[in-house]
Symmetry: C2
């Protein structure tokens, strides 16, 4: 017997037929003697529809009211799954964010979970009742509904798993695991059996859409073993492998990974834009004067490169933001010109970031130079470089993205089974 959290995304609960399939997955785990909490997203398309309504209602819509509206989708899918399970003879009850209570901060639209009271859930699980929790939603200190941002149901699931001390959090999604890279670009991409939390965090941050970044952070902090698998598997098929599952990827502590790879995966993101400030006056406080206002406006700056000035008076600064923030960032820098002297500002959203990720590279020098050589040999110019202990990222011309991904995937031998 184990305590499990099972999370199902929007495509997995898109209609009643699929909800029936979800219910059979749940029933299987219940039959196996597990205590089961389920976290669901809204039926596919519902959240988009509600978001569109809010936007059409007013361009500058209030975030509190937005959250009230868009959280309705999960309320519906949670209730429907409870009804379907009950119809199959499985004892089940739905729970909304405010009912259990999933406490969050007040950052409406992108709230962070601060606490989940486990008492109601543990009591019901102990009685053999499946708890079906509406994902994506929580309760702010002022008693209003919050939402956790896109993909927030993953975070709900991991937070519930941490709160009730679940043995594992199973993320049922429309892919059957985490791959070495995007299989649409590299058909030979391999499904990873295990990925360390740190690696998954980098992959999620760098554009892999499998899990929301915050859910991975939370899983890492609380040590929640998270298993990504396909919701389209036959629910009645014999379950083998990790946690009696068929196929999927376990995201876990690196201690659980016996054979560590040098490089685990290649990630990429085309959602990048670069801004270059030429001949900025070179004096203390200039960086703060530029990046302070950007941060204050909620613009996330990712890569930053500042060259040493040749004459000691002026320097070039280049940084990247998401394409969504590009126009706003350019406008902000334009305003700053009156305070910070600079010769010119230029920007481009025609760039992509490609990253090599692997906890193995911590103890192996040469991974980075291997990447740079391989890209150079293909004629791909590197515009910016950033590195961390387990990651190397380069900014390149967007047109070369696929070529760069294929090249790197190949040189680290990720194509081999």
């Amino acid at each position: 017997m184990a305590r499990l959290v099972m999370k199902f995304g929007g495509t997995s609960v898109a209609d009643l037929e699929r909800i029936g399939n979800v219910a059979r997955h749940v029933a299987r785990e219940v039959r196996a003697g597990n205590e089961v909490a389920v976290v669901v997203s809204a039926m596919a398309g519902e959240t988009d529809k509600l978001v569109q309504l809010c936007r059409a209602a007013s361009v500058l819509h209030d975030a509190r009211e937005y959250d009230t509206v868009v959280s309705a989708g999960e309320q519906v899918s949670a209730g429907l799954l409870a009804i379907v399970l009950q119809g199959m003879g499985v004892n089940a009850r739905s729970w909304l964010g405010w009912q259990i209570a999933v406490s969050t901060d007040s950052a409406h639209g992108a709230a962070r979970i601060t606490d989940i009271r486990p008492d109601i859930l543990l009591e019901r699980l102990g009685q053999g009742q499946v708890a079906i929790i509406a994902g994506f939603q929580g309760l702010a200190p002022d008693n209003r509904i919050t939402t956790l941002g896109r993909g927030g149901s993953d975070t709900s699931a991991v937070a519930v798993a941490a709160a009730i001390g679940a043995e594992r959090c199973d993320i049922y999604t429309d892919v059957d695991g985490v791959y070495t890279t995007d299989p649409r670009i590299v058909p030979q991409a391999q499904r990873l059996a295990k990925v360390a939390f740190e690696e998954m965090l980098e992959m999620a941050s760098l554009g892999s859409k499998v899990l929301q970044v915050r859910s991975v952070e939370l899983a890492m902090v609380h040590g929640v073993r998270t298993f990504v698998r396909s919701s389209f598997d036959d629910p009645e098929a014999p379950q083998t492998g990790e946690g009696n599952q068929t196929v999927g990827t376990l995201i876990c502590d690196e201690d659980e990974i016996v054979e560590k790879q040098l490089v685990t995966g290649i990630a990429y993101s085309k959602d990048e834009a670069k801004i270059t400030l030429r001949r900025v006056e070179d004096k203390p406080g200039v960086a703060a004067a530029i990046f302070g206002p950007l941060a204050d406006s909620g613009i996330n700056v990712d890569m930053i490169v500042q060259n040493i000035s040749e004459d000691g008076r002026a320097t070039d600064i280049t940084f990247t933001v998401t394409t969504a923030d590009f126009e706003r960032a350019m406008a902000l820098i334009d305003e700053l010109k009156s305070e910070v002297a600079m010769e010119s500002v230029s920007g481009s959203s025609d760039v992509a970031k490609v990253s090599v990720i692997g906890i193995g590279m911590r103890s192996h020098a040469g991974v980075a130079s291997q990447a740079f050589q391989a890209l150079a040999s293909r004629g791909i110019n590197i515009q910016l470089i950033t590195t961390s202990e387990i990651k190397i990222s380069v900014l390149i011309d967007a047109a070369y993205t696929e070529l760069a991904v294929r090249t790197l995937h190949s040189i680290y031998e990720l194509d081999k089974t």
Copy 2:
């Protein structure tokens, strides 16, 4: 300055354009210096869609989960109206049943409001903020969402008006008031300027769809003056008449009605079925043995007629139920045959109830006989009769419904302006 409740039904908030129209009605009242609480239904069609999903999910769906699912509709419309009002510069905030809290009993699907805490609403109204309340929903003692049954938003509105001591509850709907009878049957039907609570209660009970029965009961008990008007009026048109409104019907205490009519309206309902038990053994306790089990099964029996038995041994009993309960009632009576001796059971849903309503008939004899004569002169056979102080109802062959309504509408001179 007055404190007002404004209620808008599903067709009034069917899309963003209509929600904009609703917002202009609200803005007008705010500009006039009123404290305004608004109660909204779900966007037209949404509740039906959610009900269909529940039914398709499981025939015997759990009422708690049903309420969780179907209450999502009002959550969306309340949030959207708040967004639209804010976009127009009107300070507004949405409130769900559990947030304020609209306490109800545990009768999921048809819950009764037991209490509404006025403190949050009064505080916000006092700050000049419009309170937008999701209708149709409440909170059961066990912290689960309840719904109030079809048309429940009317009841929400009247209950809110009673709780905050509103001067008037304005029901904006798709008709411009309460008519002497259904204008689709009698084109000369007149809109009533005022109707007494008791009369409106009879009209609502007898099939007038303008207001939910329970909302009228509640308005009567708490003396909430309720004004029915059209939501399709030009929101910016000059407001004249009762409470600065253009046209509509005020439902109020009869003391407020100066010129009392003998008969106020003619109501009808085709949602009737009759069941006749022939030669039931005539002994004490027979009626209880028949109607007890029906009540226990939640079947509402309306008219009952028992003839005196000719031979002192057997009697005929006829009663009516709604068409929805007809099959169940017949099956139940069939089971009872083993306990209560009777010769035969027959039933028909091919009947209609037509009623004459008016508080004036209390003090005037002869209203009933006038009706019977008029129907007889048209060759309409009366199958059953029931009367109250302010109402006469007859059960007739359904084919004669329109003829009976027109005939009665005419003899009491309701056709005249």
